[in-house]
């Protein structure tokens, strides 16, 4: 097949598989005069095997967008598909179940359960799926070992540093091998060096052929860790830049949607 115009302009696109397609998503909050348009028809394609960063000023709609993508919030219009699965067409119950198997979260404040050990925290997604506790904790212990926390698996979050807690959160986000990893300001509570370590971990551990990684961040020091950076303002995506800073299209019309 001859290359498409998009593939001519972005040769690297041909090797990538479409992971997340966000099509004309709109979301508003409030009613009447107090209506706030958080998302004004956002369209964005995210490929598998890469780190997509979403940046923008406070209140521009970044959190709303990733909430819709993760199935936590309902879009008023538009659609979101993850490896061909239409999230926006699912019921609340279906979305809850979908998240438990296919979505991983890394939060700014870690949100680890303070009463659980590092291994128990990392094992939570497997336990939510119904995996027996011992098996889940065993897998979590292995994964924490890969993340350099092998000797701290029995420590509680209060006994861990910020960087260590975030690594536990990364383990928790990846243990069930989700299709999409959503990271909300993963380095905001960390110093630069630790933040870079965390981002490197995300790149090394999270990026996979069957996974998309979205990182919402203000931290321009880590922009270089992303494969593409989408700039968002006032509810829509203004521009998408590649890792070199060159503009690229937000959507890849050339890429065929991948099935489940």
């Amino acid at each position: 097949m001859p290359p498409t115009p998009a593939e001519i302009e972005f040769p690297q696109a041909r090797q990538k598989r479409l992971a997340v397609r966000i099509s004309d998503v709109q979301k508003k909050f409030g009613k009447g005069e107090q209506t706030v348009m958080a998302l004004r028809g956002v369209s964005w394609d995210i490929a598998a095997q890469e780190v997509a960063m979403l940046v923008g000023p406070s209140g521009c709609g970044k959190t709303t967008l990733i909430s819709v993508v993760a199935g936590i919030l309902d879009a008023d219009q538009g659609s979101v598909t993850i490896f061909g699965d239409d999230i926006t067409a699912m019921s609340d119950r279906q979305k809850t179940r979908y998240r438990s198997f296919n979505v991983g979260f890394v939060f700014q404040q870690y949100n680890l359960l303070p009463a659980l050990t590092a291994a128990e925290n990392a094992a939570v997604p497997l336990i939510v799926q119904g995996v027996p506790r011992r098996k889940a904790i065993r897998e979590a212990t292995d994964l924490l070992g890969q993340l350099g926390l092998g000797k701290r698996v029995h420590a509680r979050p209060s006994q861990l540093s910020g960087g260590q807690q975030q690594r536990v959160a990364i383990a928790r986000a990846l243990i069930h091998k989700p299709k999409i990893l959503v990271c909300d300001e993963p380095t905001a509570a960390l110093d630069h060096e630790t933040g870079m370590i965390v981002m490197k971990l995300i790149r090394d551990m999270a990026v996979a052929a069957d996974r998309a990684v979205i990182v919402v961040t203000h931290d321009n020091r880590i922009f270089s860790m992303g494969d593409r950076v989408a700039h968002m303002d006032d509810g829509h995506i203004d521009a998408v830049l590649d890792s070199s800073g060159h503009p690229i299209p937000a959507t890849f019309a050339a890429l065929e949607p991948a099935g489940p």
Partner: protein, 440 residues
């Protein structure tokens, strides 16, 4: 997810202890007040159970409870005996009398005069039907002696205030102590020898025995009732009554001498039904032939308790305390539980974001509430029981009886407390937007 819920709850030990305490407080208060109430109600009818041996109590139809004596003419006894199906029928006197006595106060060394209202029970002269279940010291047969009475052990506290006689555990020690405080082995011996030398030969021991020495006489001490001498020949074990007056047992004919003379002195007739006869049928026969009421022991107990429930402030006072305890427990547990939920709201949000549905979240909260309820109930009931055990005994002032109904009632109340306490928390987490976890 259950173990996660429990770990979340027990992770904050101070808060966990506070929630459990709130529930335990309510459980203990409900159990303790309920047991005291039940114990008091049993005391109101204690004498009915103590006067054993009869199938039926025959009385004036207007009698409402055991102490509401409506005396009958003594000839009613003969009429009752004439009813078919009755094996025997005996008279019973029950009333209040005034006892006077003197004793040597062992603390001050002075002579103390006591005038006390006592409950006087007059048993059938020959059969002693209704006699005390057991004697602490002395022989019930000594009631056949002239002037003799038997006093209940707890009643010694009222007859000999501040002497601690009711706390003495050994019969011999009690006899000695009574002899000492009453000073009877000198004065009483001399008095008896002077009063009835023919009937009761004077004891062979010299009247100059040391204080507290046993002179071999069954008479423990003496008192005066209605200007008649009463010789106490035994101390019995009787259930404490509601009024806590001393109980004196004597014969029916002697009881009539100890109280002011009236035309009607027959309080009750105790009836034994012939073997093979129906108690209900005989009761109906007595009622139709004599016009008197005839009820069983259980029916009389129920009648007495109902009277106290309906016509005294006891139920409302206890119920007020129980209800207050319920609300206080709910408030403490509810407030701390809600506070715990608020402190963990981000964690609940994270769980919801990770795919834990509302039903599972509700299950987690209810499991936490259930654990708190289980522990609080156990601690509360255990604490109340220990309280009751520490204050038990015939000499105890505390009326405490734990019926199994109370355990069920308490468990139900605690379950309601836990549900109410967790309702706000459940609402909070169910309505929680998982997107909260994305906010810094």
């Amino acid at each position: 997810m259950g173990w996660i819920a429990i770990k979340m709850l027990t992770g904050d030990r101070a808060k966990f202890a506070g929630i459990v305490f709130g529930v335990a407080f309510a459980a203990a208060l409900i159990m303790q007040q309920g047991s005291i109430f039940w114990g008091l109600m049993l005391r109101t009818s204690a004498q009915i159970y103590d006067l054993r041996g009869a199938d039926l109590w025959v009385m004036d139809p207007s009698v409402t409870f055991i102490d509401d004596v409506k005396p009958m003419l003594e000839r009613q006894l003969g009429i009752v005996r004439g009813v078919d199906g009755i094996q025997w029928a005996v008279p019973l006197y029950k009333g209040m009398a005034r006892a006077k006595l003197s004793f040597n106060d062992k603390v001050t060394g002075k002579r103390v005069d006591v005038i006390e209202q006592v409950i006087l029970i007059g048993l059938d002269d020959y059969s002693f039907v209704g006699e005390p279940a057991s004697m602490f010291t002395g022989d019930i047969e000594d009631l056949r002696r002239p002037h003799s009475v038997v006093v209940d052990r707890v009643g010694l506290r009222k007859l000999f205030p501040r002497q601690g006689l009711n706390m003495i555990e050994s019969p011999e020690a009690l006899r000695s102590a009574l002899s000492q405080v009453s000073g009877r082995n000198r004065a009483a011996v001399a008095m008896k020898a002077k009063a009835s030398p023919a009937v009761d030969p004077p004891p062979t021991v010299a009247p100059t025995l040391p204080e507290g020495a046993d002179d071999g006489s069954p008479v423990l001490f003496e008192m005066e009732m209605n200007e008649r001498r009463a010789e106490v020949v035994g101390i019995c074990n009787a259930t404490r009554t509601f009024q806590s007056n001393a109980i004196l047992y004597t014969t029916f004919s002697r009881a009539k001498e100890f109280v002011p003379r009236e035309r009607k002195l027959l309080s009750y007739v105790l009836v034994k039904v012939q073997p093979g006869q129906s108690v209900e049928e005989v009761a109906a026969r007595i009622k139709s032939q004599t016009g008197l009421a005839a009820i069983t022991t259980d029916q009389f107990v129920e009648k007495t308790i109902n009277y106290y429930l309906r016509f005294t402030g006891i139920p409302i006072n206890f119920m007020t305390t129980v209800i207050l305890g319920f609300f206080v427990g709910t408030a403490i547990a509810g407030q701390m539980f809600y506070s715990f939920t608020l402190e963990n709201i981000r964690q609940f949000g994270a769980l919801k974001a990770m795919g834990v549905g509302n039903l599972r979240i509700i299950g987690m909260v209810l499991l936490q509430a259930g654990l708190v309820g289980f522990l609080g109930y156990g601690l509360g009931v255990g604490g109340a029981t220990l309280f009751g055990m520490a204050n038990r005994g015939a000499n105890s002032e505390l009326a405490f009886y734990t019926h199994w109904y109370l355990l069920v009632l308490d468990a139900t109340a605690i379950a309601v407390i836990c549900v109410l306490a967790s309702l706000l928390s459940i609402l909070k987490v169910v309505l929680l937007e998982p997107a909260i976890v994305f906010r810094g």
